[in-house]
Amino acid sequence: MSGLSPRQWTGLALLAALAIALPFAFEPRGYGIRILCLALLFAAMAQAWNIVAGLANQISLGHAAFFGIGAYTSTLLLIHFGITPWLGMFAAAILGGAAALLISLPTMRLRGHYFALATLAFGEVMRVIGNSWGGLTGGPVGISVPFAQPSLALMQFRETRSSYWLMLAALVVVTLVFVAIKRSRLGYRLRAIKENADAAEVIGVDTTRTKIIAAVISGALTAALGTLYAQFQFFFDPDTVFGVASVSVRMAMIAIVGGIGTAAGPILGALFVIPLEEFANQVFSAQAAGLSQLVFGLLLILVILIEPRGFMAIGPRLQRLLRKGDRR
């Protein structure tokens, strides 16, 4: 029920060793390792999204709001007060959680498409605010993280490898949070809400409170990841960090492609989607504007059509097919 078998522990240990050693197979300042960093970051983001969407089936399309809040919070604290991004990340999480609480109050009663649309609108409002409140955010031209001597204290690194390990650690933390929630009373309650909200209420689940707690955790984690993004890219603008396509939909897409509601889903999804996107960009961007996005979109649609429950469902499905084959 809770513990893993010795074989699973061995597998997990090997996987961890592989993940830690992986950067050494890449050129230290190359492009490949940067893609890998982004894949890990987006895996963590999709995992944070998974807490609300995967467990309670509240499909948010506004998580960019929290991500952007996180990126701006730590960056502004660093610029104006010289506060280290490590502390900035905590401030980001607190603000992200507060924003999630605020948006939860009016949207928690909404289900399905209505919830998705309301959260989408919230993300867009944040993007507009980010663009128009130039005095604070620097407006559409974007903002730069002040460059310092590479140091762990300021979360700036000489080698991309170090960023990779930071992203890896973030992914592990968010995944552990997801697994812990899934197994807790909160997780049981979220599943009950997902499967039958009225029945859940009648047997004593405070559905509103449960959804808000999950949303706040999810929003806080997403904002903290926004800080990591800012420290990794050094430059960003409102359209990127508050973007529907660049953040909100991508988070959802990654979790869905990999397997929504599962711990491994967002990880598999990100390792597939992010490199694929880069590949489509490189191969097709020379041909015609927009062609790479079209190809990328078509590939994703294909994956969803083949297995709507994502990669995580393909394994069991193959096993079933093989067993059928054996019987013949």
Partner: protein, 240 residues
């Protein structure tokens, strides 16, 4: 009558143009088994849903053990000790039977304690052998019993059963009635909606009859069986 555990007075509930409940008043004493009967569409399920807070009545009051429940959310009413089962069965289909029942126990217990309690509830209802099955894979009678086990796992003071025996055969029904009597011995109060008159007559201390959202009679099973208005509205048809 002794002090009522549940005191419903003047409750009205309207769906658009349909007056589903009008001026319904009834009181249930602690330890009683009350049968709620009436033809299809009489408002029995609506009354249950209103009592547990899924619907908010336009008028009237609902008191449980000296506390007004109108306007409270269902989870607060569950915490106060009143829970219903769903006539059309509302299980968590992608969860195991044990997890379904366990979720009922989480209101008052940690996961391990709720799991122990859930196993006991499954045993009592006689379905501990299917604890690990997925709710989705169950037959309808099995599902109905999981509903009952899940409701019991919330440790209610008063349990509202909406046709929980609908799909049971005679032997199962007798066993189920024995369970309800046993639960009553242990202090549970029950309100039971059921169309099987044999079961209702044998089980209940008192019957309440609804017709077109109105209470048309209340009394002992013998009194109700002889009541001309009830025979006209309900019994006449099912007995014929």
């Amino acid at each position: 009558m002794t002090a009522a555990l549940l005191e419903v007075s003047g409750v009205g509930k309207r769906f658009g143009g349909l007056q589903a409940l009008s001026d319904v008043s009834l009181s249930v004493a602690a330890g009683e088994i009350v049968g709620l009967i009436g033809p299809n569409g009489a408002g029995k399920t609506t009354l249950f849903s209103t009592l547990v807070g899924l619907h908010r009545p336009e008028s009237g009051s609902i008191w449980l053990g000296g506390r007004d429940l109108v306007g409270l959310k269902p989870h607060r009413i569950a915490a106060a000790g009143m829970v219903k089962t769903f006539q059309n069965v509302a299980l968590f289909l992608d969860s195991s039977v044990l997890d379904n029942v366990l979720t009922g126990g989480l209101m008052r217990h940690s996961i391990p304690a709720a799991r122990d309690l859930a196993r006991r509830c499954l045993e009592r209802v006689g379905i501990d052998s299917i604890a690990d099955k997925l709710a989705r894979d169950l037959s309808f009678p099995e599902r109905a019993r999981v509903e009952v086990a899940r409701a019991l796992c919330t440790e209610p003071r008063i349990l509202l059963l909406d046709e929980a025996m609908a799909a049971l055969n005679h032997a199962e029904m007798d066993a189920f009635m024995a369970l309800l009597r046993q639960l009553r011995e242990e202090g549970l109060t029950l309100v039971v909606v059921e169309h099987h008159m044999r079961a209702i007559m044998a089980l209940c201390d008192r019957l309440v009859v609804l017709n077109f959202g109105q209470m048309i009679a209340t009394g002992t099973p013998e009194q109700i069986a002889r009541d001309p208005a009830v025979v006209e509205a309900y019994l006449g048809r099912s007995a014929a």
